[in-house]
């Protein structure tokens, strides 16, 4: 498994757990706003959880225009 795939998996795992959605329902290309049923404030909350998990800092703007798990994973991967 390459690094990006591993990061993506960890994000999906965490998002499923945090927003109470079965992990099996989430795929990398899903729109996380739609799939998790979250608003922009909750998306910032997800970002905070991801920061804690990956021990990095993500500026809010990294979420600008991002709505799928794969792109989010790429943004995170580039900061790991």
């Amino acid at each position: 498994m390459d690094d990006l795939q591993k990061t993506t998996d960890e994000i999906l795992e965490l998002a499923a757990k945090h927003f109470n959605v079965p992990r099996t329902q989430l795929t990398p290309d899903d729109d996380f706003f739609k799939k998790l049923g979250i608003n922009s404030l909750q998306a910032l909350d997800l970002l905070t959880r991801l920061e804690q998990h990956f021990h990095i800092e993500l500026p809010d703007y990294e979420l600008q225009g991002v709505s799928d798990f794969r792109t989010l994973a790429e943004r995170i991967q580039s900061r790991l």
Partner: protein, 571 residues
């Protein structure tokens, strides 16, 4: 507070402020727990003037349009002042829009200068029509050291390039100060052309309700391109010697921390944020042991009865010490606007002794039309007209409700390059808002929704969906909205019109019998002629504007396209 009557332009008034309070702090910028920067009015001036000089040398002349595309930060205000100092026209762009829209608005506004955060500029530079951008100079902030600037210059370097001192360019009151794009455009850009007179009159009208003084701090979280923050988080505090606190992140935990760390006096919010604060407080209250919870309830009841006629902050802070301490202990008021706020939410904070000043306004009227000044507390209204604002209700019908029209020195000049929409919107000097309301005997305005999405019952009563949505507040669904069935699926009849509740369930949840029962129960609490006749389960996210209002027209169009009235489950 400066006496704004003596100034001719925003540039002139701001210049006077910088000279009046040189040693006071005007800006604090924080990122999470770190403080990035803190500027006195003197330092603000020392940074802004070379920037303004460089803009002049690069060709910014009186009337030249300069767009700003940034999240809330100190460089936003410094750049805006530099533009005003040189007599330029500011075009604040909404950073939450996609890059494609930024391109369109840059073209529509004919902006010749652009000051943008690097990541926003980068997105624009990757758009397919990038080559057609006609901006003369692009200045970027926050660019990483080796970034490809795509033709832009660094903000930090740009100001250093000036060879001469900046020359102040006077403007007249009638001159254009800014072009602000209001949301809800439906694809047709609405560039509100606002004059210096509009802004100075608005600031003078609102100042008695929200006075600023040296040391009074405003926490800026509504985007500064929005009329509310431009006034509340720039013009008002600066002309009163106050301080604006910017956060580079909008995560709720850091917003909460900022209250205590910086002793915030004012913060403007949209209803979504207010409700999120309310939820957070409720969770804390629910976690209290029974006895403590009872004591709290008593204190809240005492506070409520003692503050009915006017806020009594000192008293509330003593009675409900822990709650006020969590808000920093210096909070004067939370201002809520941008969308209709449910009376129950306003009441919740009022009962805790935290004054919520809800208001009503629009960019076309240069922000505020009414403000609820809490004397007495009237959560069912949006308050009375601000000073100098005339409100007329056009063709009032049942209960005195009609379309709200306003006249004031704060009403915009026109829509940029759109004479047709301008004449539809400003008629004989009156701004036609498209909102429905009525004035009560005390001159308070009550709103009843938009003009088109409404029904008239067989009894001849006009019912406005927004008016009854409160009944469904707190239901276990993700979001909901009430429509006139006739608005969703237009029928050529005015007989038997009905209301439909549209619910979007929480992810993974299904429409159960329990939900149907809950809707029925809540519906029954409404007066019979206000009840919804059925509900529709909608599976997609509601479209929202940048300021998080439901785009009702767009949602209605999506529903209309996907389903017909047969999908409504009758109650």
């Amino acid at each position: 507070m400066l006496d704004l009557a003596q100034y001719h332009s925003l540039g002139e008034a701001l210049q006077a402020a910088l000279d009046r309070w040189p040693e006071q702090i005007c800006l604090i910028e924080a990122d999470r727990e770190r403080e990035n920067a803190r500027f006195t009015y003197r330092q603000f001036k020392e940074i802004a003037l070379p920037l303004s000089a460089a803009m002049q040398e690069a060709g910014l002349s009186p009337g030249t349009r300069a767009a700003i595309l940034m999240t809330n930060q100190s460089k936003w205000l410094i750049s805006a002042y530099a533009v005003f100092f040189s007599g330029g026209v500011l075009v604040p762009l909404d950073y939450k829009l996609p890059a494609e829209d930024h391109q369109k608005l840059l073209a529509h506004s004919e902006a010749e200068f652009l000051v943008a955060e690097y990541h926003l500029w980068r997105a624009i530079s990757k758009e397919k029509n990038f080559g057609q951008i006609a901006v003369r100079a692009v200045i970027v902030t926050d660019a990483p050291p080796n970034a490809d600037l795509a033709g832009a210059q660094r903000w930090e370097d740009f100001g250093r390039g000036a060879t001469l001192a900046a020359k102040f360019v006077p403007r007249e009151r009638k001159d254009t100060a800014s072009i602000v794009y209001s949301s809800g455009t439906g694809g047709r850009p609405k560039g509100c052309v606002l004059t210096h007179d509009n802004y100075l009159e608005q600031a003078a009208a609102v100042a008695p309700v929200f006075p600023f003084w040296p040391g009074a701090r405003y926490l800026s979280i509504i985007p500064t391109n929005h009329a509310i923050d431009f006034m509340g988080g720039f013009i008002m505090p600066f002309t009163g010697g106050g301080t604006v606190v910017h956060l580079r992140t909008l995560r709720p935990e850091f917003i909460r921390e900022a209250f205590t760390r910086y002793g915030i006096a004012y913060m403007a919010v949209v209803p979504l944020i207010l409700k999120s604060l309310q939820r957070g407080l409720n969770e804390k209250f629910d976690a209290l042991p029974t006895r403590k919870r009872r004591v709290l309830n008593v204190l809240i009841a005492v506070n409520r009865s003692l503050t009915r006629n006017k806020p009594r902050l000192g008293l509330s802070r003593r009675l409900l010490k822990d709650i006020h301490a969590a808000f920093g202990g210096k909070l004067q008021a939370l201002l809520v606007g941008g969308a209709f706020t449910e009376p129950a939410t306003i009441e919740f904070f009022h009962d805790l002794g935290i004054p919520i000043y809800n208001g009503y306004g629009c960019t076309e009227a240069c922000t505020a039309i009414t403000i609820n000044d809490q004397r007495p507390f009237r959560p069912d209204t949006v308050g009375g007209a601000v000073r100098g604002m005339e409100i007329r209700i056009l063709s009032p019908g049942e209960g005195g409700v009609g379309e709200v029209a306003v006249r004031s020195k704060t009403v915009m000049s026109h829509y940029l390059n759109d004479p047709e929409m301008t004449v539809e919107t400003i008629v004989d000097g009156w701004l036609i808002t498209g909102d429905l309301g009525r004035l009560d005997r005390s001159g308070h305005l009550q709103l009843f929704g938009r003009k088109k999405n409404m029904i008239v019952t067989e009894e001849g009563k006009n019912i406005y969906p927004e008016d009854i949505e409160n009944a469904f507040d707190g239901m276990a669904v993700k979001e909901y909205c009430v429509f006139a069935a006739n608005y969703l699926w237009p029928a050529r009849t005015m007989v038997g019109e009905q209301l439909v509740l549209v619910v979007h369930l929480e992810p993974g949840k299904e429409a159960t019998a329990a939900l149907a029962e809950e809707i029925s129960q809540r519906n029954r609490r409404l007066l019979n002629y206000k009840r919804v006749s059925g509900y529709l389960v909608w599976e997609r996210d509601f479209p929202l504007t940048a300021s998080l209002k439901i785009k009702r027209g767009e949602l209605a169009a999506q529903i209309r396209e996907a389903v017909d009235g047969e999908s409504v489950i009758s109650l």
